[in-house]
């Protein structure tokens, strides 16, 4: 099936997808750590389940290959079987499906975070996804589905890898969100939609983690932003543990009722994730029947995004201009040496001054290289910068930046010259975003007519590319007033372009180049330009008059610019949140003149980290902020600790962490370790796939105060109970804290362990448990 045919089918009726594999195999008594091995060991079991899904009326049957990528298979020593497992999965699904049912190759995440949150490079992730996709495509799937992604960058790597292999295969891309619509890495549903609207996928959707009722608002939000068809696969409720196994409480009928609601919200494909089985799918297909998808009216305005921040471009877009290595001479050498501290400081400064996006001009690009640009973009991402406008000349470096960037940026800029514009439009198609097109080809046009002619030429190239003009800003060119240029030419060009329904942007400060009192001149011209129809400007956000005039002109037009929300005005919190280690250490050194290191550590830094935790719990900051703050605080704690005399050092509580046997995910555990470490805990990390007896042996040997367990997979969550029992049998009465996507409070109660929802929850819980332990200890001593 090609994409056109798939698209037609999606217009005709709502399609149904099958249900879970891992949890269903468990229910049927197949307790494999990696369900994909059943494709080789017990193919009849896989085929039987798929036949049941087919018989229940699923239109799309997925291959049993969710974890069959090289990275995950390696953890189970199954790397050599990669090709066989994937090929067998396609044969089995094909045999189970009837001729009118589609077989979609299922691809899950690698299980590792990509840089800068983790260590996996974009290129490696791309290779991993392409390798699995190639096998599935060669084996004859009708389409591919990417599921349960929590990192937008990883999803982007997978999409590009697949599209480079096969431009004409239907592709569904799904992410996993919490009930507030935020992924583990801080990406919201609308950011996901904003980028995926541009990337070359056919359907975007949400799956896993949420129960059907929790999925309603998340799908609704996705529907409000997505220009593409929607898919949804909730879990069958939060699992509980009874009769020695995991049970998912949502009945088939309840599931079907919500499935019908998803259709009402505009879903084009509905299926089931963890805990759903053929009965759920049967009830669902019966309830939905053959129904035409609902028409949706997604928001039409354009957004730009970073990984965690989404900004509207309406009614006026302000881009901060000050990261310009061409204009700021000291930035260039710093950049060449890989010192991004000044760039990050400027980004933060412009954010607080009200920029919606930050222009990034790396100066003389010949002096830079791809690796530096990659590290620069990672640093910007890691510091949770706001959306970026990539002001690059060299295509090669621009492409590196765009590939690495986990958001929807602005590409600044292209000339109207066909060759230049075509290349930049290709980037726009491949990586997403908005594009600035200059009203010129090779030489600076002297008249309005020449500028319009250049725009006309650009329009014919853009039309050919199929990209919407909503994604294009035209720059009518602002030239220095000091050299006798007539500013009316720019204003007239703006008017003419506005009359044709085109959006314009200017580089405002060019006007006052070389003149005194630049601010007054800039402000006056901006007022005139907005009145003429200007929609965006790259400007100096530290110019108060300019900003006031802008807001004033907009006020006269009865519109308001979106104000940036300031997360915190506390200087210490800001140093932590922006990863300003150098500044933090300098601040500490200054304070050490008056304060004891112990006081600074316990009464100043620690409460600040508690506030950071609170901001995270309130969803005012996200995972990248949290990790950055924790790592920054860690450096400060380390510095202070070496100054604290041994007899004054607070006792460090020791936490032993492990991912349970059969589970190879350790992203969550690593985050917990980082946060706990930054709050003074000593961490013993046993790694992934750790059997219960190894946890016991390590506890006997290392004597931790607490045990922390991570269980991401529904198929291995019962291992938490195994560890708890093993500890008890060994006479170790240690508090056990468990977390991970498969855990929940009810399960934890049943297992007799504590539940931590996220890293901050784990920190609060560990602190509480340790103070309890200390109290008990002091009781015992007394």
């Amino acid at each position: 099936m090609n994409r056109n045919e798939f698209s037609k089918l999606l217009e005709e009726r709502v399609l149904s997808l099958d249900g879970a594999y891992g949890t269903e195999f468990l229910k049927r008594g197949y307790q494999e750590n990696l369900p994909e091995i059943l494709n080789l060991k017990a193919p009849y079991v896989v085929r039987k389940l798929q036949e049941e899904y087919a018989e229940a009326g699923a239109d799309l049957i997925l291959t049993n290959t969710f974890s069959a990528n090289r990275i995950k298979l390696r953890h189970y020593q199954l790397e050599p079987e990669l090709e066989k497992i994937n090929r067998a999965a396609v044969s089995l699904a094909r045999a189970a499906a009837s001729s009118y049912q589609l077989v979609f190759g299922d691809i899950g995440p690698t299980g590792l975070f990509l840089e800068p949150l983790g260590e996996l490079s974009f290129e490696r992730a791309y290779e991993i996804f392409q390798e699995q996709a190639r096998i599935l495509i060669e084996a004859g799937v009708d389409g591919l589905i990417l599921e349960t992604m929590s990192d937008l960058k990883e999803l982007k790597a997978a999409i590009l890898a697949i599209r480079d292999l096969s431009p004409d295969l239907p592709l569904i891309a799904q992410m996993t969100f919490d009930e507030k619509g935020i992924s583990v890495t801080g990406t919201s549903v609308n950011i996901f939609a904003a980028l995926l609207n541009d990337l070359d996928v056919d359907v975007l959707g949400v799956n896993c983690f949420l129960t059907p009722d929790q999925m309603l608002p998340v799908l609704n939000e996705l529907g409000a932003y997505s220009q593409k068809p929607l898919s949804v696969e909730p879990n069958a409720g939060k699992p509980n543990f009874s009769g020695g196994q995991l049970n998912y409480p949502t009945t088939p009928l309840e599931f079907a009722l919500y499935a019908r609601d998803f259709v009402e919200l505009g879903a084009n494909i509905v299926g089931g994730c963890c805990g759903t089985g053929p009965e759920h799918i049967r009830a669902m297909t019966k309830m939905i029947g053959r129904i035409k998808p609902k028409k949706r009216k997604p928001v039409s305005e354009q957004h730009i995004t970073s990984r965690t921040v989404l900004k509207t471009t309406e009614p006026f877009l302000v881009v901060g201009e000050r990261i310009n290595a061409s204009a700021r001479k000291k930035l260039q050498p710093q950049l060449q040496q890989g010192d991004f501290s000044e760039i990050l400081r400027l980004a933060h400064e412009q954010q607080t001054e009200g920029a919606q996006a930050i222009d990034l001009n790396p100066g003389i690009e010949k002096l830079l290289n791809a690796e530096l640009i990659k590290r620069l973009v990672q640093a910007v991402d890691r510091h949770s910068s706001w959306p970026i406008s990539f002001d690059f000349q060299e295509d090669q470096l621009l492409e590196v930046a765009l590939q690495e960037y986990p958001g929807r940026p602005i590409i600044n800029s292209s000339t109207a010259r066909e060759e230049n514009l075509t290349r930049r439009l290709e980037f726009l198609c491949r990586y997403g975003g908005l594009l600035v097109v200059l009203a010129m080809e090779n030489d600076l046009p002297q008249t309005v007519e020449e500028r319009i002619a250049a725009v006309d030429k650009a329009l014919s190239v853009i039309k050919h590319s199929g990209i919407s003009l909503e994604r294009i800003y035209f720059d009518p060119l602002v030239l220095p007033h000091s050299t006798g240029n007539d500013y009316h030419l720019t204003l007239e060009t703006i008017r003419k372009l506005k009359a044709r329904g085109l959006k314009t942007i200017i580089g405002l400060s060019n006007l006052s180049f070389g003149l005194p009192d630049r601010e007054g001149l800039n402000a006056a011209f901006l007022g005139l330009a907005v009145e003429a129809g200007l929609r965006a400007a790259i400007l100096n956000t530290s110019e108060l008059t300019t900003k006031k005039v802008l807001d004033g002109v907009l006020e006269l037009k009865r519109v308001k610019r979106e104000k940036n929300e300031i997360i915190s005005e506390d200087p210490l919190l800001n140093l932590l949140l922006h990863g300003q280690k150098k500044e933090l250490l300098a601040n500490i050194q200054e304070q050490l003149k008056k304060r004891e290191p112990l006081w600074l550590s316990q009464q100043w830094l620690r409460p600040a980290m508690e506030k950071i935790g609170q901001l995270y719990a309130e969803r005012k900051i996200f995972l990248p902020h949290l990790i950055l703050a924790a790592e920054t605080a860690q450096a400060a704690f380390d510095y202070l600790n070496q100054l604290i005399p041994d007899n004054q050092s607070p006792k460090k509580a020791r936490v032993l962490l492990a991912t349970v046997e059969g589970d190879v995910h350790d992203i969550g555990k690593k985050i917990v370790a980082t946060v706990l470490k930054s709050s003074g805990f000593e961490i013993i990390d046993l790694g992934r796939n750790v059997p219960a007896d190894q946890v016991v042996a390590a506890c006997q040997d290392r004597k931790p105060d607490l045990v922390g367990l991570s269980a991401m997979m529904t198929t291995t969550v019962d291992q938490v109970l195994e560890v708890k029992k093993a500890l008890e049998n060994a006479g170790l009465n240690l508090p056990v804290v468990a977390g991970g996507a498969s855990m929940n409070r009810e399960l934890a109660d049943q297992f007799g362990v504590y539940y931590a929802r996220d890293a901050v929850d784990a920190l609060n819980l560990c602190q509480k448990l340790i103070s309890q332990e200390l109290k008990n200890e002091s009781h015992r001593k007394n």
Binding site: D213, L216, P217, N220, G223, T251, L253, E254, L257, Y258, R260, D261, E264, L265, G266, M287
Partner: protein, 193 residues
């Protein structure tokens, strides 16, 4: 004339959600606006389903064996007639009473709408089943409409179908208890009309 009793599966009584919402007076746009209400309505759907005890009594016989006053004018010439009474039982009535007593007005409105649509789903299902068996028929008709007096319910339930009063009680007015009970008539003929 042989009366037959049927205890239908609950799956026959699943109302279409959009019908349920419409009967409750909730506009479709609300479906995308109020997720809590959707969840509440879904929970109630499941609760109501637990409380129904669907039951059907029916008979089919030559038309001339029935009193003329029972056969609607709109049926015209028919060869035979099926008469049936369907109910969702007392438990769902009780649940409605509980909601009413506790001033749970929203729940009461939703449950009433759901039950009406559930009973209609049951009737539609049984109607379909009868048509497969008897071929060409008139549209389904209930006393109280057109030329048939609602008080014929008493005759249908007590005399014709002989339903025990513990299961369905008919008041002098023709109103039936449990509240979610209907009587229906379908005429059959050999040729399509």
């Amino acid at each position: 004339m042989v009366v037959e009793k049927l205890c239908p599966e609950k799956s026959w009584c699943l109302p279409e959600k959009k019908h349920f919402w419409a009967r409750a007076g909730l506009p479709p746009a609300l479906a995308s606006a109020d997720h809590e209400l959707i969840s509440q309505a879904n929970a109630l759907y499941l609760l109501a389903l637990e409380h129904i005890q669907p039951l059907i009594y029916y008979l089919t016989a030559q038309a001339h064996l029935f009193p003329v006053s029972l056969i609607p004018d709109s049926f015209g010439q028919i060869e035979s007639l099926t008469v049936f009474v369907s109910t969702l039982g007392h438990k769902i009535d009780q649940l409605m009473n509980d909601f009413s007593r506790n001033n749970q007005t929203l729940e009461l409105i939703l449950l009433d709408a759901w039950s009406s649509e559930s009973l209609e789903a049951l009737n539609r299902y049984f109607d379909h089943h009868l048509r497969q068996k008897h071929g060409f028929g008139t549209r389904r008709f209930s006393p109280g409409y057109g030329s048939v007096d609602i008080r014929m319910n008493l005759f249908i339930v007590k005399e014709l179908l002989q339903v025990p009063e513990s299961e369905i009680k008919v008041l002098e007015s023709g109103v039936m208890l449990p509240r979610k009970t209907t009587t229906c008539l379908i005429g059959w003929h050999h040729e399509p009309k």
